[in-house]
Structures are given as C-alpha cells and as structure tokens.
C-alpha cells in the first residue's frame, strides 16, 4: 500500500516487508527475529499473528530494540549490535534475521556494519534484511527470508532424490496449514518423490538445510522471482509452478513436477486418474446441484494474487461464476490473469478485477453490483467488513482470525479441492 493513489483508507494487505520478515520468521520455529524499530512497531506486527495463530506463540522469538528519540539522535546501530550480542546467546536461535523500521533505515546509521560485527561473534547465521515501507508488501519480505535460508543450504553435495518446495506461504501452526503440508507430501509421494524441505513450513532450520538432498526445486508462484538464482545456486533443475489448487490445478502441478523430476508420464497420469476417480464423483454431487446453466451461483473473492487465481479457477471449474475478484497484494494483476488462464480448464466469464483495493473500494464495488454474490471468499477483513450483507462466507488466506484449523482441512491438492467443495456446500446451505 505504498502509493495511496486512490484513497487513504486501509487496505487489507497494508502489511509491508517488515511484517513479511516477521511472519516468515514465525514459520521457522528456531529462528529469531531482531526488529529494529520504535515501541509502536511491535504492535504493527505481533498483534496480527496473535489472532491468526492459536497454536504457536511467536513473541518469544522476537527481539525488539525499542529505539527512542535519544537513540535516534545518537545513532541506533550500536544498540542493535549490542542487542544481537546479548540475545543470540540467550535465545540460541539456529538462524537470526534483522529488519529495521523505515524511519531507522532513513536515518542512515551503519546497520550493515553493526550486524556484520555482531554476526561474526555470535555463532549462528545472522542476516540483515533491508525492508522499507516505501515499496513491496509482506510477500516480498517473506520471500526475502526464504532467499536467505536458501543461501544457507550447502548445495555442493550430490543430490539424492525428491523435491524441495519453495515459496509455500505458512502463516500458522494449525491443522489447516499442516494439512496442506501433508497433502503436498502425499501428492509428491504419489509420484514417488519424497519432499525434502518446504520453504517455509514450520520446519526447523536444520530441516530446511536438508534441501541439498532434493534433486529438483519446485518453486511456487510467490517465490518465482527467486527461481533463476536458486537454479544457479543449487545447480538443480528448478521449475516454477502455479499453486496446486483444485482438480485441474493439482493435476497441472503434478505434471509439471513429474516432468521436472523426469518421472514417467504414465505414472503421473495413473496417479492423477486414481485421485480424480476418488474426488470427482463427490464433487459432482455438489456441482450438479448448484450449477444450473441459466442460474449460476456467483462469488466475490479477495485474496493475494496466487491464491486468488487458484481459487477463482477452481470455483469456476465447479461452475460458479466470479462477480468480483480483489487482489490484496500489490502489482500482480498481470500475473493473476496469466495464472488464472493457465489454471482454469474452462473459459472464465468477465468479472470485475480490483487491484489492491481499499476496504472502502471493496464495499462500494459490492454495493454497486446488480446482484449480490451468492458466496463471499476473503480474509478476515473482508468477511467481517461485509458481514452485514449477509452473504454466505468462507474465510480464506491471510489473515484468518475467525476460522482456525482444529481439524485438518487442506486448501491444496485433491483433498484441498474436496475440502473447498465441502466448505462451499456448507456455506451455501448455511448449515455448518
């Protein structure tokens, strides 16, 4: 939300790179995050995780430098250096990241030097990540942490087998996200490929460092900008895919992975067929009841671009019709269009596309629709903001404050396709 060109009310993904670093560190249970900022910067980031993740506290792995006016005037680098020297031995993290608030980046202190001096002594990798509220969003910060983790892998060992998955958005240690990881493993296992490391997944740093064992890197769309460098760095084939969501999207993902890993296509197709045979009849029970040709159900969807494209494709595949899609991240409209085109096996009817909309813009757009959508999918923010419209709603993506994963229901894979169909049925039936 760096350019408030249209209006100044909060956008949903107002979160900047700083929070992305915070969130990514949360996804590595033995990582520490030094947040070099003022007292108020704690609230910007910590608050949102507290309500998003019921299962795993993150504040004990955050170290805040709490710079005040005196610290700013005298220079804050020394305090940062001292904090790293003090707290790394206390917390004993496997890896540490350092991010500074925008006003401290602007102050021009030698933060690089401070981190380098401290890192040389503390006995664990310490990475300074330059973040700024002036550009980028939390996905960028998240990806910066993945980039640093990939650089900590010893790639010069001979690969064994299997895949790494890079760019998985892991925001909480709840059963829904664990189910996604299990489904990824199950899908890869269907091709005979072990999953070595998932960046990021709630796995300890040492497990991420096992990435050298994999022979192929599978890069999900939010980490796509890292692919070329990862290919060079690792010396392994690296394939960029869309998210494995929905029947068609999952089948495409399996084919891409299989091809990159040189798995016999007949094996890939056999696995896909088996899974389709299991899932399709069940999903058809729903589709045949909601998908009348002349009376299609419509939906409004708000999520970050990669997930929005995948979900929009799967819902369209289930013969629902998009009315509005809002992309909550920044500057990825073109990616969204291309990804949707790839992921959807059928023509997608025209719909209203909102790029990084404000909350006000979303409300106005929905109010102006000739017909209220039958279904609303969005983060906690949209679902709550629009609750008074009475639209059956599914909370998807981040943040997810109301829906929490007590029981495993994935979003990805064939099981994710079934789970989403179940949620659509429940929502449309208004029976949960």
């Amino acid at each position: 939300m760096t350019g408030h060109d249209r209006d100044s009310s909060s956008r949903h993904w107002s979160h900047t790179r700083l929070f992305g670093v915070h969130l990514a560190t949360h996804a590595i249970p033995d990582a520490a995050c030094f947040l070099h900022g003022g007292e108020g910067c704690k609230t910007k980031s910590q608050l949102h995780l507290v309500f998003n993740d019921w299962m795993h506290e993150s504040h004990n792995r955050r170290i805040w430098t709490d710079i005040d006016d005196t610290g700013l005037i005298r220079g804050s680098a020394l305090r940062l250096e001292q904090m790293i020297r003090t707290w790394v031995p206390r917390r004993k993290p496997a890896i540490a990241f350092v991010a500074a608030a925008t006003f401290l980046e602007l102050a021009g202190d030698d933060l690089d030097g401070a981190v380098k001096r401290a890192a040389a002594e503390v006995g664990c990798p310490v990475h300074r990540i330059v973040v700024s509220a002036f550009d980028g969003d939390l996905l960028d910060g998240y990806r910066q942490v993945i980039d640093r983790c990939l650089r900590e892998v010893t790639w010069d060992r001979a690969p064994e087998s299997g895949i790494n998955v890079v760019g998985h958005f892991f925001d909480r240690y709840e059963a829904d996200r664990e189910a996604d990881l299990h489904e990824l493993e199950r899908l890869a296992g269907g091709l005979g490929l072990p999953v070595r490391s998932v960046f990021l997944s709630g796995s300890p740093f040492a497990q991420l460092q096992e990435a050298w064992r994999a022979s192929v890197n599978v890069v999900l769309p939010d980490a796509a900008p890292l692919a070329a460098e990862l290919s060079r760095l690792s010396g392994r084939p690296t394939v960029v895919t869309d998210l494995p969501v929905g029947l068609h999207g999952t089948a495409r993902w399996l084919r891409s992975v299989g091809e990159a890993a040189r798995i016999d296509s007949s094996r890939v197709e056999a696995f896909i067929d088996t899974e389709m045979a299991r899932a399709v009849p069940r999903i058809h029970c729903l589709v045949e009841r909601i998908g009348e040709v002349d009376a299609r159900r419509t939906f409004a969807l708000f999520s970050h671009s990669s997930l929005a494209a995948a979900l929009c494709a799967w819902l369209t595949d289930m013969e629902l019709v998009p009315a509005v899609v809002g992309l909550l991240d920044q500057g990825r409209e073109e990616f969204f269009r291309q990804s949707l085109g790839r992921a959807c096996p059928t023509e997608v009817p025209d719909f209203r596309l909102l790029a990084s909309p404000s909350r006000r813009e979303i409300r106005q757009t929905l109010a102006a629709l000739p017909r209220t959508p039958d279904l609303l999918l969005g983060s906690s923010v949209e679902v709550t903001d629009l609750a008074d419209l009475g639209i059956p709603s599914l909370e998807v993506g981040f943040p997810s404050f109301a829906r929490h994963g007590l029981f495993p229901m994935p979003t990805v894979g064939f099981n994710g396709a079934l789970a989403l169909a179940q949620r659509v049925l429940d929502a449309l039936s208004r029976v949960h």
């Binding site: 900047t16 700083l18 949102h48 006003f103 700024s132």
Partner: protein, 476 residues
Amino acid sequence: MSKEGGSSRRAGELAQPSCSMVGLGTLLLETEGSFAVVIHGDADCINPFLKVFPHRLAPDVARMRLSSDRFHVTGLTEPEVISGGGRDRLLRCIETAAEQQAPEIVFVLGTCLAEMIGEDVQGICEQAEKTLGVPVVPLRTGGLRLKTQAELLDRFGTLLASARETTGSLGDNDDSGKPGTQAGVTGLRSGLHTVTTEGPQAVGGGIVLLGYPALRPWERDEVAGLVSAAGGRLAAELPARSSLAAWRGLTSAELVAIADPAFWPDLIALLERRNVPWVELPPPVGLEASHNFYARLLSHCRRGEDSRGKLDELSRSTRSFLDSLPVSGGLGLAGLRVAYCIGSIKNYVAGQLAREGLGELPALLELGCDVEVLIQEREDQDARDRVRKNLDLLGVDLPFRNFNDPGVLGRELVAGKYRLAYCQDHLAGQARRAGLAHVRFGALRPGFIGMVHNARTLQAALSTGFQGRYGRYLRR
C-alpha cells in the same frame, strides 16, 4: 491492600510503556462517534489498527463496532519524505477522510517518521480546518518518546472530555481553567473531592465509572440495580465503553467514581475545574471490596440508606455461596499457590491497568489463595526497588519475583511451585509448559455476581472445567 491506591504513585510504572500513536489510536479505535483518524507516516503505521474484532472487551461489546475503516494513513513515499511533499499528502489525506466520512472531527496522529522530518502537523491541520470547516485536531504522537499507558489514557480522556459542545473544538488541554458551576446534583451528598454547587451548566448526568473493567450485562445489572435503589443512575463506563458523547457528558456527571486516581491527574484537574464531584473507589473485585465499593458509592446517592438492606443481603448470599464451596478433594482454593503476573500488559484497558494491574488481587486473597506477584521487569536492584516501592504504595506486602522477558516466565513459574497462573493470554503457553492451570488476566470479575463467577472460574481451571480435566495434556 490500601484503600487509597497510593496517591504519590506514578501510575503505569509497572506496565509496558507505549508508543503514543498506537496508544491514542487504539483508544480512538474503540470509541464510538463521528470522527476520522489520519495517521501521518509510512504505510506500516496504519497496521496497529487493522483490527476487525472486538477481541478484548466484554462479550456484549459486539454492539460496539471497532471501526478501523475510520483510519487513514498518508503512506508517505520516499520522495515525499526526502523532498518535503508530506505537507500536500497530509492535506489531501485529511480532505479525503472528510469527504468520505463527513466526520464531526478529524484527529491527526503523528508518527516517528513525521517527527523525524519535523513535519509542521499543527500548521497543516490549521490550514485544513480553515478549508474544510471541520475541526482538525493534531495530536503530537509517535514512538520515539515512550509514555506509560496511564499517561495516554489520561491524555485521551482529558482530550475528549474537554470538548465544550458537540461540534466544538478539542484540544490537548482544557482551556477553560475557570471554576465552573455544577447543577443537577440533587441526588448526591457532600463528602466528595469537589463540593457541588447549583448552577446552570450541567444537566443531571448520573454516575460515571472511570477506569473500571467493562461490565458485562449481568454485572451492570447489579451495579445499576443497587444505584437505582439508592435513587441514582449509572450513566456511563469510561473508557470501557467509550464514545464521544459519553466523554463529552463526563463534565456534567453527578459523580465520577474513579478506580485509580493516580491514573488520571489531568482529567481529575479538569473535573475539579468544572466542579464535577469525584470519589476514589477501588475496583470491586472480591466480596469485601464489592461491599466497600457499593457502600461508599451508595452513600453518595440520595436514598443510599434505602438500598442498604439490599446490599447487605447480596453480601450475605454471596458469602454463603463461597462458604459452601468444597474445601477438600482438590476443589478448595485455600492455600492455592497462585502466580499473579503483571507488567506484561499493553492493551490500554484502564480496568486491567488500574492499580498496576493488581485490582483483582483482593478476590484471590479473600478466597484464601497463597499469592505471589510476578512482574515482567528487569532483575537488577534498581528495578526491584521500584517494584517494591510501587507495591508498598499500593499496600501490597506480598512477595514478588521479577522476570525480564516473557520467554523466561516458565522458569519462574516452576521455581515458585505455583499451581495456577493468573496472566495474560500471550503468557499462557509458559504457564501450560510449566504445568500450571491458567486463568486469563481480566477473567476475575467485579461485584458480588462477579465473585461467584471468580470462584467458579478458579475451580474450573483447576478441576471442574475442561482445562482442569485435561490439563496434563496441555503441556507442550
């Protein structure tokens, strides 16, 4: 515990300090009324207010919408910061907020970035006010000068209570400064901090509770019922149920009952300038505390004596219930080792911060618990001295332990051989790992009906509730 709360205390010393932008913004977020908030800073500074749940107040607070969509941010860009384009950006943002919301007032919050570049927020607001014809109130805030949460609450209350009329201007300081007059106090007696006089200004504003926990409906029924029986009226709870209208009505209250006067020096000065009577009444958490609270509150009402019988009956029946509690078989609370954790709170909830968070202590002591105070604070002697001084001023002579970080609380909980931790949610993991039952900070409730709830809450945590039945599986 002291009945007076230690008037020489510097309130808030034992809680977490705060960024004033986040603090005042949070309090505005939870205030009903026609206003907009503009934050002048980088885009990240709106994120403390991207809240969509009334997650920390009483269960019935769903009625109070947390309107974070009233918040706007200038989202300064790097060129604007460097080349001085912030002025235009702020003006445009204020105009947008005024155009979109048609608010009665626009509050403008500063940030670290605005402070660092020396933005003339005051001048910009004056210009915007002239152009728009809407009060635009600059609040010099930011995270570079830490404030106690008490200071921020006092500043916030004074700011909103000093509004002179619905569309009148607001400022950080009340500028009336003149002895006011007070009317509509026929239901009150003397013996208050301000002697009331008849006059044309106020209009019988009832009793306002200042700085207490937000009452749940059944708790409010108890308070309102007793007050009504005494010929009074419960008018408002501030800042627990905050609205511009309620704050504006504060200076016409018949009586303001204050949980912790050390919290509110500026606001009390305003009340005194306006001749609004106020009285210190420590939070009514616990049987004796409730009885004392009501007895003193009702004594200021016109027919206080009439409600005496009702008060005594409530007190007797609650005592009877507490006496009936099993004392054996693991259900007894007598001698229960309790860790009462303070110093980690940063939620701007006056009802939890009052008396340094120790407002619920009497309830535990009354139930016979063996309580120690654990304080998130440095472990050096200076810090220990400061803690001791504060506890002494509050009349708390219990032993205490300092823990310098939430991550090491578990170690202290094990060392103290406690069975139950009364602490904030974000410390619950430490309690569970240490094998302790956990009761969420703020779960101990006020009033007689609250005391029944309190005994049941503790028993549920220990044995009769889900946590009690399955607690051994919660260590993780």
